[in-house]
Every structure is written in structure tokens, then in C-alpha cells.
Symmetry: D2
Subunit: 363 residues, 4 copies
């Protein structure tokens, strides 16, 4: 199956390069009758959009999406949905100088070896520009999931060395970093300003949470919900690690500490991150992802060219000093796509199931 498709019943297929004419997506399997408007898609696209603060790339992309198919009179028809975003602010001349060079930590070297050919302008297909379409497709999934009582939200939980403990959802949309603690924002801004002066970049950690998910989603043994989330989140540019619930902290935990005990009133903890045996438990689903520092920095680095000769590389162009800053809407989108797909898969097989056991909440 296409490496540019995600999902089995609710599927998202995309194409498009950083500096090509457009990004395009086909979203299939969406239930019919869902009210969907351009605004629904644009809202999340605007959250991901570059150039909205001094802490992200200054490339100006309107990221205006057009719906080409699958929506009629404001509602999904159940047929494949076509989406289009034109690229408008490509400055391809920025890139000609590095046409034959492999930028360190970029995909230049690996795309070259894989395909022989390569659209070197802005990283071509390997650019995070493609994530705009994930966000647009994810917005459709979010809209449907909301009708089922499922809400997906994310925030930045660490920027470089600065940990950001969760304080309140209210803060997240009010600052450029998706910080859940408004008091941390000045520290984050100061850090980023210094980073730009250092001509360097830094990593980040994002947390995504789905609330209101019914028990039962996930398809063992290989398409466990956690496995699919790991797949979807790790497929985002620059992600180097994914955790569910306690994640790597589980390594040092004891069984008596890790296990989430249950009472008739609810679960007593959520080390599982809402997933047991690869199936949602009804608790909030919690995932963390690690994003590496941006590879495009102006500090020169050692590399080679296509002939194998040594070369110093400086990446010019307009780049995000921390790709994690714009990653929150992308992570939400991927989680939404996974949950949507699994909701449909689950009810395809198990529509007849009725159990009288109550669904536990979390204390």
C-alpha cells in the first residue's frame, strides 16, 4: 500500500513538495452527513501556519485550503474528499546553492540514495511543509470525533532544557508555544531569542491527549491502538521518540506502582495512558513525542556532496529554529486520524457487541 496513505477505513493520502505548485490530499471513508466547512479546516491550518510569531519561519504561506470533492451543500457525502492548498511563497532560488550538497541531518542523502532523483528545493517531499495536509485531514477527523464526544488537544511539555508542567488548557492557545503554563512563556521567549542569536536550533517535547474515547478502540495484535499511535506520531517530521502514558518511566517502575487499580468509582491512576492490551480503556489517551532540533541552521557543518567530496554546508532559507513549536496541531491531527480510523474499524467488526459492565471514569 502507498507509503503516502495512512489508515485502513478512514484513509488519508497526500502528495506535494515544499516548493512545488501545491499540496493535495484525498481523505476517504469519512461518514456521510458530517457538516464540514472551510473554516473547520482553516482553524487548525492557521494554528500550524508559519510566520505567525517571531519564533517560527518567516515564510509567508496563507495555507488556504480548497475542497475539491466529497462535500456537497456543506455536508460530507461519504465519497472521497479532495483537498488542495497552493504553495504561494516558494523562494526556490534560495536552494540552488545546495543542489549537489547533502545537508547534515536532512533527508538529502537518503532521498538521493533511495530515488536517484530529488526535488532539492526546500527539501521537496521531506519538508515539514507536507504536514499542512495532515492538519487539514485531521480537522475532518476531529470534527467527526467531536460528534462522538471525543476531544483531542495537545500542548508543549518541554522546550529544549525547559520542562513545562501542565497547568491549564486555557493557556495553550494564547501563546506562540502552545504552553499550558502562561507563566512559562517569558522564559520560553527569552530562550528562543538567545537561540536565534546563537544561530542554533533546539528540540521539544509535545503531549497529546484524547478525552472521551470509548473503551474498545484498537486492533490487536499488530494494530494495537498504541502501536498505531506510535506509527502515526513517529511519521511526523523530526520525531525521534513516542511514549504512551508513563512511557520510559515504566522501566524503573514496579508492578505495584505502575498498575492502574480500578474501583467502581473509576481508575485510580493512568500510567497506561488510556490503553490496555492495545485497546482504549476509556481513560484519557496520553502520548508524548520527542522532536529533534531543526536541522536547518546557519552554523556551518561538515558534509559531503553528491560526488562524495567533503564540503561545508550552511543552510540558508527561512527555517523554524524549533520545529516543535508548530508541531502541536500536527500531533493532534495524527492522533485524530488514528482514532477515527479505529472507531470505524471497531464498529465495522463489533457493531453487535453489547455489554452491561459500566464504563469507568478516572478519579
Amino acid at each position: 500500500m502507498s507509503g503516502n496513505t495512512y489508515g485502513k477505513l478512514f484513509t488519508v493520502t497526500t502528495a506535494g513538495e515544499s516548493h512545488g505548485p501545491a499540496l493535495v490530499a484525498i481523505v476517504d471513508g469519512c461518514p456521510p452527513g458530517l457538516e464540514i466547512s472551510l473554516e473547520d479546516l482553516q482553524r487548525d491550518l492557521d494554528r500550524r501556519k508559519p510566520g505567525t510569531s517571531r519564533h517560527t519561519t518567516q515564510r509567508q504561506e496563507a495555507d488556504e485550503v480548497e475542497i475539491l470533492a466529497g462535500v456537497f451543500e456543506g455536508r460530507t457525502t461519504g465519497c472521497a474528499i479532495g483537498l488542495l492548498i497552493r504553495n504561494t511563497d516558494q523562494k526556490s532560488k534560495d536552494y540552488s546553492a545546495i543542489k549537489d550538497l547533502f545537508r547534515p541531518a536532512h533527508a538529502d542523502y537518503t532521498y538521493h540514495h533511495k530515488y536517484g532523483e530529488r526535488d532539492y528545493r526546500g527539501g521537496g517531499r521531506s519538508s515539514a511543509r507536507e504536514t499542512a495536509m495532515r492538519v487539514a485531514a485531521g480537522a475532518i477527523a476531529k470534527k467527526y470525533l467531536a460528534t462522538q464526544g471525543i476531544v483531542i488537544r495537545g500542548y508543549m511539555s518541554q522546550l529544549g532544557p525547559i520542562e513545562i508542567p501542565f497547568k491549564t488548557w486555557d493557556s495553550v492557545e494564547d501563546n506562540a508555544f502552545f504552553s499550558p503554563d502562561p507563566d512559562k512563556v517569558p522564559e520560553l521567549e527569552a530562550y528562543m531569542d538567545q537561540l536565534r542569536r546563537d544561530q542554533d536550533s533546539v528540540g521539544a517535547k509535545i503531549t497529546v491527549v484524547a478525552e472521551g474515547v470509548m473503551p474498545g478502540l484498537g486492533e490487536p495484535i499488530f494494530d494495537r491502538l498504541d502501536a498505531e499511535l506510535a506509527h502515526a506520531l513517529m511519521s511526523i517530521n523530526a520525531v525521534k521518540g513516542v511514549e504512551i502514558g508513563a512511557g520510559f518511566a515504566s522501566v524503573a517502575q514496579r508492578g505495584t506502582e505502575h498498575r492502574d487499580e480500578m474501583t467502581p468509582e473509576g481508575f485510580l491512576s493512568n500510567n497506561a495512558g488510556g490503553i490496555l492490551g492495545g485497546i482504549s480503556s476509556g481513560q484519557p489517551i496520553v502520548a508524548h513525542l520527542a522532536l529533534k532540533p531543526t536541522s536547518s541552521i546557519t552554523t556551518p557543518g561538515r558534509s559531503i556532496d553528491v560526488h562524495g567530496n567533503a564540503a561545508d554546508v550552511i543552510t540558508k532559507g527561512r527555517h523554524d529554529p524549533c520545529v516543535g513549536i508548530r508541531a502541536t496541531p500536527i500531533a493532534e491531527a495524527m492522533m485524530a486520524i488514528v482514532l477515527m480510523d479505529h472507531l470505524l474499524r471497531h464498529r465495522g467488526q463489533n457493531a453487535d457487541v453489547q455489554v452491561s459492565t459500566p464504563v469507568l471514569g478516572q478519579l
Copy 2:
């Protein structure tokens, strides 16, 4: 597609419960002409097998595999390979007491809500017993990959609070823990002995490495090699986190530190874990996985029954106090299956590609 199938071109489909008659697998897409013997499969099955030391479950399973199809006169035919392992040491009566109870941190509660029905004996399909078939299928992949110069090996890098820095591959097969440091083994043994006395369990961290992988494997944007590895490794029972290369350490790294510079003599570091832009770079592929502590412990825990009533649960039966101890061969198997699938997918599309750029090693 079936949640019990992994892979697109090289596919592994399995069935089988902990206490049912047998485990079965169908492995499809294997290149023809590969010499394969029962010993090839048995070697890895024996490495995963329970009951080989006092630190694992005392369930006695021979795990003898039978090849039902797809191999003729000692060589693969290119047709689907059928594998069978009979269960021989099921003690199902151990489980009748918890038939209507949900053990904390197990899949009991979620399977019940998903399917209504549930084979409660030993966890049924959710038991790690199914991983025997992953190991058998992975052994076929390993055998083929070896003919292409690819070697996959794993080791335990942390047991509970005890970190185990990599010292030598030579030690790994010589102790019950897959420890790469022979000097750490007494400490590990003492820790496990105390743990059993405490009637508790603990987590672990496993590292898997693939060497000799050619540049070019991985199918952006969704089937990036790292995304597929995350999927495959997270699908293993008890795994709560997956890292590629520097993983979560990337969060606090700066770009100048994280990026792996290249010289004509080779890469200068491997923070990327051998994958750039979702495609193998030719460097060793390095993945870490976090396994939670075993949920089956004899220390009583609070829970509920199928009617929603409070109940105390003690998990009897025979269990591993640290599932991570036997996880190394499973992690190797899953990495092998992913690389095998991507090797075939890559050459399916890109068989014509020829580049003159040399492949870099690692310094």
C-alpha cells in the same frame, strides 16, 4: 486489513491464544530459494522460550515449530509459509477463579468491552504467548536479511533502576538477561531474587540494532522506516515507549549537537539512529523500547468484576516477574520483519535506481 497481519509485501499473520490448542502463522512474500530449516526457527524460539532460568515463568513450553507449507526440499518456494506451534503446558484451571474479574493493568477490561466475549484463560490472545510466532516469523526474515549482509541483534539496556551500558555483543547470549555487560549479571540476579521475594515485578529497557542496512529503506511520508519500527515495536506486549537513535534525549539537544556531520570517511556520530527523513542512511539502525512491569503479580490489587462491583485481585498462575527479560528476541524479530518488508518494497519501486555517490560508513 487484518489487525493480526504486519507488513505490506513481506507479511506475517498470526492467530492463537495462550491456552488454546496452538499458535499458527502465515508468512507471505518471502523470496524463493531461501534455505530454511526448523533449526533456523528453533534457535530464536529457544532464546524466547519460558522456563530456561529461575528469572522467568516456570511454564514449560517446548515451543516446537512445524512448517506446514511454503518450504520444499529445504528451500522457500515463494508461496505462503505456514507455521504451527502446539501449546502443551496449559494449566487452564489456574484461571477459572478470575473468569469474571478484571485484573488491573491487564487487557481483561478492554477485551471485555471491545468484544463482549473473551478467552479468559491466561489472557487469551492478549498474552505474550503470541510473541512466539513473531519470533518464528522473524527468524525467516533474519535469515534472508543475513544473505543481504544485514545483522540484527538486541540486548537489555536497563532492568528496573539498573542501567546496563553496552560493553560487548559477546556477553549477550551468555546470561539469562541478554546483558551486554557480563559484570552486571550478578547485580541483575540479586535484584530479580529480591523482586520475587517482594512478590512484585519491574520494567526494563531493550535496545535493538541492525547493522549492514543499505541506504534507501523506508517509504515516506507515513511509512517512514522509523514510523514502521515504532509501530512494530510498540505492538509488542507491555511496550510503552519507542525511541530511534537519540530519542527523547533529542529534546534537550541543540541542532549543532544533534546533527550527524558527514565526511568522506563516514558519519561522525549517530544521533539519528540510522534513519534520516524516514529512510535508512546506511548507519546502524538503533531503537530503544520501554517495557512496563509485568501486570501479573501476587500482591493483591483493587479492581472490579464484570458487574462493576469492587473486588480484590491476586494473579496466580506462572508469570515472568520482568517481561523485558525475554523481550530481546521478540524485538529483534519485529525489527527484522520491518526491514524485510521495506527491503522488498524498496526494490519493488526502485530496482532501476543507480547512484554513483559512495555509501558512507560510520567512523
Copy 3:
């Protein structure tokens, strides 16, 4: 995806050669709670079984199926179902003489070129023996579909030059040919007896009908229900053509003649064969398939050997002079698998849909 898997949500994966140790199947996605017994599977296996009349191969295979997984206390659990049929009457020595020969109209030549390797005993994987597992898997689908009011039945509609117009379902199970006209049976028997004396074989036409199918199954544009039926039925050994409804007769029809007019009382005809725009209409689904004459005949034929030299080939062994005779249960099974898969896919996406328009019957 594996070429040995059919279906997307309800999937059937099989392995097994004609003269290997066993046939095996994994059936995934079956709704939980379905009562299933060995008898349910055996009934259809016995209908397909060789050696039950003088008109089929005299190979004696009990075709006894064992359920290895996915069924607990007589009911499906929703987990993958494992099935096993041991081969018991392989006479492999019959085949050694043609080890290096390509039998005309067999798959010998093409398997050799595709895989290099080949299990030449009885055709290996290309033998119709594998269809036993299709029948076993199809029996599970039939059982579930019956709970939804869907009944699938087939019959022989032509044997060589003898057309067999449909008369009654009551006759079909009462003769060796699945003839729906009991009065035709003596003519069919006489034809077959002469054919054996001629050391020749002949083709046949089978018709399969599904009644009680709700409107809505089928996934345009590529997974239209008719397209999937064509795929599934053409995948049966020896099938050379598939028609839906009027089929090739549509070529000479006019629009005023072909179109099935509707009245509030029902459809006035069924040229569409129950499928409009690739979606079931609620009318009976009708498919016809053409099976070529058996290739294994004792009349010598010109061919070549693996070195490209000319050779005369006589196919000994025990063969069906008309593979179509045993094809009816196989065709039913494949139709059942397709409908089952599409029932689950449909409700996965469209579970919310409610329309007040009445469902039409057929007048």
C-alpha cells in the same frame, strides 16, 4: 498486502500445497459471539470434498478441519481464527515423472519463471486443493451472514455444451453436479461417462446467488461490489470469466430493455444482478462464472521441459474431468467472504445513516 489474503476488514489468509503436510488459514475480523462449530465448517467441506461420486477425482481426503484459535466455548471471540486441515492421501510418487516438465495449461511454466523454485507435487500451491480452505473460511462468513438474513446458494448452469436452466433449489444438493434440474442429471451423467472414456475433460458454468442482501454494500469507485466479486470469483482455479446479472448479454441489449424499472411494489427485472453503481440494490445478487476444462488429462500433449526441449506430456495422477463439478461450494464461499467483508466495511463508515425510503423487493 499478501497475495494470499482476501478482504479488508473480514480477511482470509491461507497457505498450503496439494501434497504438503497441511492446509492452514487465518480468518480475521469475524464479529465476536457467533456460534460456530466444526459441523458448520464440515458441511461445506464435505460438499466440495473429492471422491464422493465417480465424476470427480478418486483422491480420498477426509478434509477434516481443526479450529486452532479464535473460538472459545463454541463462540467466536473476535480474535483471529486459525484453521487446519491435514493432507492425508498424497501420492507424491505419481508426480516425480513430470518434475522437469511443464504440463500444458497448468501453472508449471509460470510458477517456474516466477519463483525459480516449485513444489511440483500435484501442482503445489496452484492445485485446486487450496480451495478447501476457502470453503472452510466461507462457511464462517455464511454463518454470520445468515444471522443478518443473507443466504448464498449456487448451482451448475452449464456442463460443457449442456445448458441447465434453473428449475428448483430443492434439486441442487441431491445430485453430484449441483444441477437445479433433476431431470437433467441422467444426461449429465452420460456426458461425463463418455468424457472419461474419451480421456478428455470439459468446462462448466456456475451461477451463485445471494438473497437478502441489504442495499448499500460496495465501496466505489474501485472496490465496487461487482468488482470485488469479479476479483474473488476469478481467483478460483480454472475460472476464465465472470458476469454480474445480464453479463455479456448486456452488450446486445438496448437501454430500454436492460434497465430494471422500479415501482413502489418492487423492481420489475434484474438485469443488474442486484448491483447498481457498484452497490447492492437489495435485489438478489447474481453472478456467473466460466470454468475451463481440467488441464490434467491423460491424452498426450506437446510441451517443453525446463531446458526448453520438446516433450510429450501425459498427466497421470487422479484428477477431476470437470473441475466445475466441485466448484459450486467454492464460488458460494468466495461470494460469502466478499459480502461479509463489505457488510463490515459498510457499517464501519455508514453506521449512522438512516433513510426513510423503503427498500424495494423484486416482483
Copy 4:
């Protein structure tokens, strides 16, 4: 997997309605380095285009395709290819009168029951308009296959009652019917002129042939090459039957007659249609498809409305009186997509295979 995607390694995903803003496609898995130009796509699009003779619909669509992604400096990059065709001549007001009516033999009734919602303008997604994208995607496949020596061509073999025996490929592109016999063209024109006067429509039979296909393509047992061709061709609008080689004529054939004998000089006949055991034999691959008469005719027909009430329906708008006339390029495209996908799948698994047995031609 999406019902709007075809293929496993070479995949085509499409969206778009008859009267929506545009048609869109994403073609993935194309080998990199293939020279591809707009002209390559436009040539086949123009062959399918409406309004080029008086025998097809008078809707005027330029069918100008734009390449949005996956092609750089005139060559494929190996990344997903995005294609766009704007609809320009939608006359949606033609359709408002039948908004609540189900046209007989159309998909109106079944889409309504499946999705609840429906874009009723020109049939929405069920319109043959979507086949434009199949043709564009197929042109890419054809271009690559040509580099491997594979040529795919089709022709009309029957129009209503008029059979058109194959005479010469030279004639096919020189008349509006894709007739391989120039002498038949006046008869075909006269028939069509009378048909229009009768306000009626008629069916047709199309034959597609692939020459130069290497032995080995096809993935038994379910993804046999013939099964996939049947799937792909039956998925074309209005197709009601598919045959490979001798097709339904095989029913009355004897084994001695049907089997294609082999000599060192080549095959002596091609009843198999180039496929044995589901795998290409190296002979020409021959498929026939039956297309039903156009359902959109101005002769009134009995039907019902969405409330279940009786209604007479006249389909106005601009329609093809024989959809088969424009079907030849579509059938070629679907065959090309199937062969392309199977070429990649085959070499993915079997790249190592080397056999010394010569490949036979056809005498």
C-alpha cells in the same frame, strides 16, 4: 483500505464528482527517473474526452490535467504524484428536476441507501466522469511499462448486435469507435444514428491486449493476475462481465481443445489469454469486457422517488448513447495500472530469481 484506491505498490487514489469543482488523483509508487510530460497524459485523456464526435455526449470538457507534485524537471521523483483536472462545463441546473427521483439503472437508489446523502448533479461520484483520472494515472503506468517493452492497446469488438472481428491495429485510432476494422465503421455510424433517433442506448464489448509482458506477474492465490484484471476492469462504470482469453467459450471446450500446447518454438494457441495459474505466461494478455447500455435515456421509464412514490423518469442532460464508445482508453488504463502494480510487486519479492529456461513466444 480506501475504496477509492487501486493497487498495492503502484497505487492510484482518486476523488471528484461529475459536477464538483475538480477531479484529483494521487499516484504513488511510480519508479523515479521516468520522463513524464503533460502531453503523455493529455494524449490518452483526449482519446477518452467527450464531445469529439456526434456519437458521444456533447458535454465540452477540455480535460486539461495539471501535475501538482511528484514530477521535477520533467522526471518522476519517486514521491507521490498529484494530478488535477478542473471541471469546466458543468450544467448542474439540468439535474435539479431529478433531485428526489431515482433514475432506473443508475446508482441514485443505491447511493441514497448507502450514504443517506448524495450529490445528485450528474450522478456525482457515480458518473463516468471519474474515469478521466483513471486514464491520466494509467498513462503514467503505460509510459513506464513501455520502457519495459510492454504495450497495451484496446479496441471495440462489438457494438450492440454488431460484432467487429479484429483486423488491424492501424484502424483503431482512425475512427470514433476504436474499431479495428475500418470497413465496419459506416455500419457502426448508421447504427448509432438510428439509436439516437430511437432515443435509446446500447451496450458494447471492448477487448484489451497487453503485449511484451514478461512471464511471472501475478500473486496467487487471491491476487492472481486474472483476478486483479477482473477487479480493475469490472470497476469501470457500466461493466457487467469480464473474460480472460477464451472466457465463457471455455465452458463448452474440451481439455484437448482448450489447452495451449507448447513447443520450443512457442505456444500453439492462446486460450489462456496469457495467464496460467494466475501468473503471466509471456503470451499476449487478452481481456474482454461487456458494457451495459447507457442508463441515461430520454425514453420515459417507471421509477420511484425518495418517498417511495411511483414516478416517471426522463433523463435529460447530455449523455453518451453508448458508454462503450469511450471505454477503450479507460480499459487500457486499468490494465496498465494492474500490470504496473504487479511488475513492482513481482520484483519486490522475486528480484533474485534467475532461470535458464527460455521464454516462449507465440506461434
